[in-house]
């Protein structure tokens, strides 16, 4: 919701169309409308392409997503009512959306902005994020290790696993305290690494609205001064609740440049690739209209594998990015969730494919999350370095979508058959010397080998 419209939107929470439960709304509104727009706008996937080169398809997807959002609205779980927006309201929100923000401060100030398809002018925004739980005893050090990365423009720190020996649990004091510790560690790490003004997205440990509010503190926590990022989710699918609206309200009033965290599920309520693509695009519109979010983090993921690097999901993100870049002023990033874990060759291939498919389509890289996001301490800055270097390389060589598709097809051959296998790799403590915060030699050698292999496939690194 645009801030000035917040209370008009909330009025719809109380008085919108009533459906006694979400399933009824799904069966009567969501599913039939999704089937209708996919057919009407002729959205089709050939099952092979990874990077889309069809501009008309991207534009049809955008129109289908707008139509779908206006037709279906957002289901509010507590009031059981649907919050609907008119086409005029949607157009107003989209037209007035700000296309760039100067975030961070001092030496670490950066532009977070909309990019274009095959952008020749604006390099991608490199948001480093393991999106994983880390043990509390290494959390601050892990933040420092990520902050040391040269390409880093912003950091979303790992989550804290425990507080005082208890697992951080939603809606309890352990969550509130862990969220505060997370924010404190991050601020300490920023100073200790000598990058005090880097833009951060905080705090992932805080699942609830109250824990998010507890972590907001200009002296030791989330900063309004640097326009720090926060996130508010769209719940599965096209759904929200009061906790999410509370977060949006707080972020707005606190002065955050906050994002809308949205992940349509491939194989879920939207159906196959085409429906999931339309839904994911609609999520970006929804975040802007409902929460007034300044950017979106897209992570359409696979129902079975919980990853974003399968063939159809890379294509989906490619079309999504083009639909957004060609038709809107909305800033967005693309979230990598890999199947494989640290120190595996498969993880490097997955990182490379996601980076190339999204950069050439106008996206911005956010990553790298590994091992289907299941395990503690299972992510390292090394694969994130590789992921962002490949994205930067794609921009540096001004890779076209056609070139990108050719390279992505070759890379896909390297890991597609491995996706069903549990290839979870190693913990950060094994890959990194946690005292000096550098990767161990054997893993640096592996990383270099993978760069060389990718180079042989046609990727020219910037350095």
């Amino acid at each position: 919701m645009s801030t000035y419209r917040m209370w008009e939107v909330f009025e719809r929470v109380e008085n919108g169309p009533f459906f006694k439960d979400q399933s009824e709304w799904m069966l009567k509104s969501f599913i039939p409308n999704m089937r209708r727009v996919v057919k009407e706008y002729n959205i089709k996937y050939d099952g092979k392409t990874i990077v889309n080169c069809d501009d008309d398809l991207a534009d049809r997807v955008w129109q289908a997503a707008k139509d779908f959002f206006v037709s279906v609205g957002v289901y509010h779980q507590e009031s059981h009512r649907v919050i609907k927006f008119t086409e005029e309201e949607v157009n107003e929100v989209l037209y007035t959306k700000r296309p760039c923000y100067m975030i961070g401060a001092g030496h670490d100030q950066r532009w977070l902005r909309v990019r274009s398809v095959e952008d020749r002018e604006h390099r991608p925004f490199h948001l480093f994020s393991p999106d994983a739980n880390f043990s509390t005893d290494i959390h601050k050090k892990a933040c420092m290790a990520y902050l040391k990365e040269p390409l880093l423009d912003g950091l979303c720190a790992p989550l804290i696993e425990d507080f005082m020996g208890r697992k951080a649990m939603s809606q309890t004091p352990t969550e509130v305290a862990a969220a505060m510790e997370h924010a404190m560690n991050l601020r300490d790490a920023l100073r200790l690494v000598g990058k005090p003004d880097v833009w951060t997205v905080s705090v992932g440990t805080a699942e609830t609205d109250q824990a998010q509010i507890a972590a907001a503190n200009k002296d030791w926590g989330v900063r309004p001064s640097h326009l720090d990022g926060r996130m508010v989710s769209i719940l599965t699918e096209m759904t929200t609740n009061n906790a999410m609206l509370n977060k949006a309200m707080h972020y707005r009033s606190y002065g955050n440049v906050f994002g809308n965290l949205c992940g349509a599920i491939f194989g879920g309520h939207a159906g196959g690739t085409e429906g999931t693509l339309v839904l994911q695009t609609a999520y970006n519109i929804e975040g802007a209209c409902l929460y007034g979010s300044c950017w979106a983090l897209n992570f359409p993921f696979h129902l079975k594998w919980q990853s974003t690097t399968t063939r159809e999901l890379l294509w989906l993100q490619s079309v999504l990015s083009q639909a957004m870049s060609r038709n809107s002023n909305q800033i967005f990033l693309n979230n990598l969730f890999a199947n494989a874990g640290p120190a595996t060759e498969q993880l490097y291939w997955e990182c490379a494919n996601h980076a190339i498919a999204t950069e050439s389509s106008g996206g911005n890289p956010w990553g790298a999350a590994t091992c289907r996001n299941k395990f503690t301490d299972m992510a390292t800055p090394l694969e994130s370095r590789f992921y962002h270097e490949v994205s930067e390389a794609s921009f540096h060589m001004r890779m076209t979508r056609a070139q990108a598709d050719e390279i992505c097809q070759k890379i896909m051959e390297k890991y597609e058959k491995l996706i069903p296998i549990d290839n979870y790799g190693k913990k950060i403590q094994e890959v990194y010397d946690m005292e000096h915060l550098v990767p161990r030699k054997q893993f640096v050698d592996q990383y270099k080998r993978m760069r060389d292999e990718l180079n042989r496939l046609g990727v020219e690194f910037a350095y």
Binding site: Q22, S23, M26, L27, I31, M34, R35, Q77, N133, L159, E161, K167, A168, M169, S170, Q171, E175, T205, E207, T208, L235, T236, E237, T239, N241, I265, G267, G268, H269, A270, G271, G272, G275, L303, K304, Q306, R372, N373, K374, F375
Partner: protein
């Protein structure tokens, strides 16, 4: 007019036409359990296709909705003892503090398709509510889903509650959800963990006999 046609109506989500045909077949002497067997088989086929990504959740939901509509009519003609699994009651829900319910919903549909009596408590369910429901329904299993790392401890909280009440072993406690793993299930003392809904039902069938 045939069971084949009813199966087709069910897959298309046309519950009204399916129910009309069921009533007609029964009035002409077709045994209810023959119809039930046909529908269960069709749901099984749909489930397999869903597992292979040949059909998707909306297809399953639409057919599942029609299936339940037909079952409302069929159940009065069916003797409960006819169906081995019909006597098994499974309580499902998403853990306290977690509003994500897609995984739990898929499990519910697949369980129903396999003839289980499913009590769905919804999302954001208090551990005490699971226990109350398990007692009230004399449940054979309780399935608790979590999609967030910070809500996973709710699964452990429930197991502790059951142990403290001296009810551990009275029913099977199952945990699942994207961030969970076999290691996590073992650590908290859950009886069953599975990668997805289909593995869950297969394992549960084995355990319930």
């Amino acid at each position: 007019m045939s069971i084949v046609q009813i199966r087709k109506f069910m897959v298309e989500g046309d519950g009204d036409s399916a129910v009309a045909m069921v009533n007609e077949l029964i009035s002409k002497g077709t045994p209810a359990h023959d119809i039930m067997a046909g529908l269960t088989e069709e749901m099984g086929i749909l489930g397999e296709k869903f597992e292979n990504f040949e059909v998707f959740l909306p297809d399953l939901m639409i057919a599942g909705d029609a299936f339940m509509q037909i079952m409302d009519v069929l159940k009065e003609h069916l003797v409960a003892a006819d169906s081995k699994s019909a006597s098994k009651t499974i309580i499902i829900g998403t853990v306290k503090g977690d509003f994500h319910d897609i995984g739990k919903n898929i499990v519910g549909i697949v369980l129903q398709a396999n003839g289980y009596n499913v009590i769905d408590l919804g999302a954001d369910v208090d551990p005490v509510a699971y226990m109350d429901a398990a007692r009230k329904e004399n449940a054979d299993a309780v399935g608790i889903s979590a999609l967030m790392t910070t809500t996973m401890p709710g699964q452990e909280e429930f197991i502790k509650l059951v142990s403290d009440a001296g009810e551990k072993g009275k029913y099977i406690v199952c945990v699942g959800g994207a961030p969970t793993s076999a290691e996590w299930a073992e650590r908290i003392g859950a009886d069953l963990w599975s990668f997805d809904a289909f593995e869950f039902v297969a394992k549960l069938k084995k355990m319930l006999g």
